[in-house]
Amino acid sequence: MAPAVEVSDLVKRYPKSRSNAVDGLSFRVHRGEIFGLLGPNGAGKTTTVGILTTRVVLTDGDAKVGGVSVASDPVAARHKVAVVPQRVNLDRSLNARQNLLFHATYHGIARAQRHRLADELLDRMGLSDKAKARVDDLSGGQSQRLMIARALIHRPEVLFLDEPSTGLDPQARLFVHDRVNDLRSEGVTVVLTTHDMDEAEKLSDRVGVVDHGKLLTLDTPEALIRSLPGSGTIDVTVRPNGVDSDRLLDLLSSVAGVERVERIGTDRGGGEPEPRLRLYVAEEPSALLGPVAATLHEHDVAVSDLSLGSPTLEDVFIEITGRELR
């Protein structure tokens, strides 16, 4: 069976633009997979989603959803996809339930079935009491949930979620995450873009990181994190007892397994200022606790606080896309 999404050497240059918004992107999404598309602002995520949902015309390369090329047969492609866009685009002339019903009608869902599905989805999205509400009267989170319901009503093969939880409160975000997980169990393929690394890590089977329209890396979140050198951390707060801070950094850097030491702050809890240091380590941070403590003890430096940090997807993201602002 064809992959759910197949993008090869995809290029998009907007008219009047001097650079490519998408610049030679290739990746595949398997059926039933939840795929995270990550990247800094302006990386080309929305553009890629736009191409795959036939809203944006590609400049070069090929993009297929469910085996159908979006460029040569956009009408068939629209049957297979649904999108929850970054910006609200509900039909403001219709109420919440009507938004679902008309959308289903456009997609040829029979009358009895669309009424049943609309009520079912409103209920599932926690919007039953908003069925008759005007779209303008919905909160941001409610609009978002209504757009998800609308996207699901024509039973798409691939659902695109462009930043599904931006602007949602923690409850609503968890709710959306649960719904996405439901979709996984129903076998719907989901492509989601997000800036929330925790979200990507939690939901995605695999993530692709794009920047400047190019794919930088693609793997499971676990593999990406494992591949990050020196990404486990140990934070120590010490009472130097006369050892100056340069010496302290040298000492800790010399412990085998520590790749880099950074001073991240100072605790001023009344008495002597206590420097806080972060050690970046190559392997499992807990294995280095002993050696680090021993080294400090040898030089009569007291440890007043110590904590371990395992690397997160965010560290991977920063490592490969850099720190500068877009």
Binding site: V57, P74, H79, V83, D91, F102, Y106, H107, G108
Partner: protein
């Protein structure tokens, strides 16, 4: 097949929304032409400022004006808004039918509204002006002109609506609508303009002229008028040219 079904559904949505807003729709399409008809056909006539019979000339022109202009406005205004901040139309652009069909639906629906508004003017005109003397055998051709006029208005509306950026919507009123209202031979018979040759030529560029002249020629054959076949050819040509142009602009707006 499924595209056809989607087309009907998209049309159904517009009918549904309009049906719910019927009073405001009626106000929008009737207040202005009824006021014009009343002042020029009734008040000025009774005060003796217009010749007897001017109301006769005015009524077919007002019906034509409604067919053309209501179609134009009802296609262009919603489109300008749809493509602006609200992006409401996106749901339809993502429905399983070709984008050009969505454009065609917008035209068809605008034309239907214009046609409806024009038909409504007939009983209103009769009730208001009283002694209207139409040649009834000309009615079928007059209806043909109304239909063609509605479609011509809708195609011009699509072109304008897809070409005008939202922040220019005020300009649209001043530089497009007003000239169209007054150069469309709806308040005067075009064929009698030979004393004002430049204006007569100018009117030829307005599709409304052919709607007015066609209807007046069919219903009031004794009033000098343009040849009927010229009206039909010109209106079909206008539908073709603006239809193609409108769809092209629409596609450009709809897809990035």
């Amino acid at each position: 097949m499924s595209s056809m079904r989607a087309f009907v559904a998209v049309l159904g949505r517009d009918v549904f929304v309009t049906g719910r807003e019927l009073p405001s729709f009626l106000a929008q399409v009737l207040v202005q032409p009824v006021a014009l008809l009343f002042i020029f056909g009734k008040v000025l006539g009774q005060l003796g400022y217009t010749q007897p019979g001017y109301a006769q000339i005015l009524l077919p022109g007002m019906i034509a004006l409604n067919a053309f202009l209501v179609s134009l406005q009802n296609t262009s205004f919603p489109l300008v808004l749809d493509f602006s901040y609200s992006r409401e139309i996106e749901d339809r652009l993502l429905a399983p039918l070709p984008i050009s069909w969505v454009a065609a639906e917008k035209m068809l629906f605008g034309a239907l509204r214009g046609l409806f508004a024009a038909l409504l003017m007939i009983p209103i005109g009769f009730a208001m002006l009283g002694d209207i003397d139409w040649k009834l055998s000309g009615l079928p051709f007059a209806v043909l002109c109304m239909v063609l006029g509605s479609f011509a208005g809708a195609t011009v509306g699509l072109t304008v609506g897809a070409a005008v950026p939202p922040r220019r919507i005020n300009i649209m009123f001043a530089v497009i609508l007003a000239p169209l209202i007054f150069t469309g031979a709806s308040q005067f018979p075009w064929a009698q303009l030979d004393q004002l040759r430049w204006f007569q030529v100018l009117c030829l560029f307005n599709p409304l002229t052919y709607v007015s002249e066609g209807m007046r020629g069919a219903l009031l054959p004794s009033v000098p008028h343009m040849a009927p076949w010229v009206c039909v050819v010109a209106l079909v040509a206008a539908c073709g040219i603006f239809g193609v142009l409108g769809i092209k602009f629409f596609l450009r707006r709809a897809l990035d």
